[in-house]
Symmetry: C2
């Protein structure tokens, strides 16, 4: 077999997605595909290359070719039941099929898990579109019936929601069904806890808290707490000077830093190890004296899936849905 050139691979994927989309839209009917010549012109690929992909799709059962007549979708294809299942898109901020972020990965895992419990298919949207015009193209291109957006900008989410059933997870988005995370309650709880042990506790924040709306604010607004720290992410090399700098009662940081900080204090000031609070970023080190600020992802995913099922199951408009889920301050980490 001819070795495929590097640049041909993504092109063949386009042919495959093109065919898959036609099958998906066919609702179990036999649909004739455009001729090789037409597709060749449209995709800028040789007809023989397209033919090769068609042959493979035929072997896989997606297509049926009738000599001299044309190539058709196979209405018996097993993953298309009699009644077409809704195709739910999941769109991430700067959507990519890359997951560089344990928090996001964990959220997607919970979403997929929750969506697998009701009859739908899922399409992970991958285009990195950032304007309404581009999202419009992406949504039309992906043929989805409903959408879940995760940390997507409100403007884009609102546009998507105007086009199809959509649920937004993360930040508030006016007039759009949303599951919103807040951290105020956890912030106040931590403040009480710290003030119980000491009159004006000093808190060092080593995280950007962007995903924990209200948590930092609740601590800073509490007149008894003295907060310091960085407002951005802290590189590992800069942790040590910050830790040396003050006599802190509590250090709040991403889970990934906890092991280092724990070791640092054990070595340098074993008698004054501060209370550690790990921001739940999907990585869970096991430290007995550490609190976790846990994101209610599983609950968010379940609420989202249930709401989508409701929206897909009815034709009438529904009153806007908003659920506010509070981060939880946990003593022992639970994997939920």
């Amino acid at each position: 077999m001819k070795r495929p050139a590097k640049q041909v691979m993504p092109e063949l994927q386009k042919i495959r997605h093109f065919v898959m989309n036609i099958i998906y839209q066919s609702e179990g009917k036999k649909v004739k595909l455009p001729s090789l010549r037409t597709l060749s012109a449209e995709f800028g690929l040789g007809a023989s290359t397209i033919k090769q992909e068609f042959d493979r799709l035929e072997r896989e059962g997606y297509l049926v070719s009738r000599h001299g007549v044309g190539v058709f979708t196979n209405p018996k294809q097993y993953f298309f039941p009699e009644t077409k299942l809704p195709l739910v898109g999941i769109k991430l901020y700067q959507g990519d099929a890359y997951f560089y972020d344990a928090t996001l990965m964990k959220m997607i895992a919970e979403l997929m898990s929750a969506l697998s419990a009701f009859p739908c298919n899922v399409h992970m949207l991958t285009a990195g579109c950032t304007t309404v015009e581009e999202l419009d193209v992406e949504l039309r291109h992906s043929h989805i019936d409903a959408l879940v957006t995760v940390s997507v900008e409100p403007e884009l989410t609102a546009f998507a929601a105007s086009r199809m059933p959509a649920v937004n997870i993360g930040y508030p988005c006016p007039e759009t069904d949303s599951v919103v995370f807040r951290g105020e309650a956890a912030g106040r709880e931590l403040a009480e806890l710290l003030c119980g042990a000491r009159r004006s506790p000093r808190v060092l924040q080593l995280n950007d808290s962007r995903n924990i709306d209200g948590f930092r604010q609740a601590l800073e607004n509490d007149g008894r707490i003295r907060c310091s720290g960085s407002s951005g992410s802290v590189p590992a090399g800069e942790l040590e000077p910050l830790l040396r700098g003050g006599d802190h009662d509590c250090v709040i940081t991403h889970s990934k830093n906890i092991a280092f900080i724990h070791k640092f204090f054990g070595r340098n000031r074993p008698d004054a190890i501060p209370r550690l609070v790990a921001i739940d970023d999907g990585i869970y080190p096991d430290f007995p004296d550490c609190f976790y600020l846990a994101m209610p992802r599983q609950e968010a995913a379940r609420l989202t899936a249930a709401r989508l099922a409701e929206l897909l199951g009815c034709r009438e408009a529904r009153p806007p849905f908003e659920r506010i889920l509070e981060h939880k301050l946990c003593r022992h980490h639970s994997q939920s």
Copy 2:
């Protein structure tokens, strides 16, 4: 802003992935990107279109441009720590960012969840490649450091494992680290259970059992059981005649059929409702008298993530790893 043409979207994604891959490989160093003219020729896109994507990547913090000098990767980009995290690929059978199958979706959800617990990034491979030559192109193109394959053909899995740390989930694959699912134990357990209630129980199988190696065999090999049923997937319309056909003690089928079957017997033969066994396909209806054949996905995902962490953490060759996980016959469904 100019409305992007339908066909430009995937091209812009290529530019984005091209840049992301360079950043990913840069290990935190500042890397100069090729000129717009070079990229224009390579991707067949106008220089102004590429410039537009570069501008966006700059706004997002991935790139830094120096007037008259060139465009560079931004070594401070927050998701790239000082030490480059391994990028783990997940490759599915007929890989696509579409999930048409609740079983697969649930497996991916568990995998992502397990992988999020150790420091790595994840890239979902999307090309539908089916030959070793194509996989070679895909692996080179995706720059991953390790791979998890799910229900991928043994030949492809073995090839991938010869190139990088790889763990295979699903079917046995010689000489390749594998987590294999088996159903014999559950099959024998069900046989004992049914034979305890009746001398030669009749079992109706309404599933293709492809993913439950050994389960069907264990039932059929038990001399006391009389098995009948279909060897392929059964369309909903054909369920009823099969159910009317015989006086069954047990019906084994996909979870999605359970509600229908339960209702059918309740209406037609409420005195002789057979034992129902639901094949765990990710959808969990709640029936009190139903057994579930549960796939040990969570355990498989955890074993896989732990093995990958081990492989990525050492340079020496390791003896082959194989874990056989048995499906479990559960009385009450547990979400794990």
